[in-house]
Symmetry: C2
Subunit: 109 residues, 2 copies
Amino acid sequence: MTSPADLPAGVQADVPAELARLRGSIDNLDAALVHLLSERFKLTRAVGEFKARQGLPPSDKGREERQTARLRALSEQAELDPEFAEKFLAFVIDEVVRHHEAIARDHTA
Amino acid sequence: MTSPADLPAGVQADVPAELARLRGSIDNLDAALVHLLSERFKLTRAVGEFKARQGLPPSDKGREERQTARLRALSEQAELDPEFAEKFLAFVIDEVVRHHEAIARDHTA
């Protein structure tokens, strides 16, 4: 039995070898990204629980600004478009703040 | 001389030690994510150039559906919300298709 997770999404009979090779590497990076994002949400969940216990607000604009500045600088070193890095961080933080708000609601309920 | 990239965004004098520790780990994962995303865009740039040379269309709905199904399955294994993984992939692919369209325009120009 194979599950969708076992099948590299790039493997297809009618795809040129060069394209299949590139897609195989993209699929490997995507698996790594999913696992790192999962670890990141475990950490932000712990942050959310800590903030709820201490009565701290779920979001922290100063921290977000420092994260954005740092990721933009890191992106330039890594040859990633800093605009994309900033959009990516905003996308992830959006989800984190939603989680923190839910934790804060559970905590006061 | 320190640049914003050298300073962990979580380090602040007035932050409790537990919160600073969690933020330091989040910052390390973010650096890893930025570097993996950069590698991913290098691969998708190569895919875009290959497609432009072969006259293949920039986007491929069948491939995207297989990627989505695979990432949702991987997310369940990794304890990441599959809805978030799907939104994340759509966010990244949006950017990739924009790149591919630009490559295709350059190629025909």
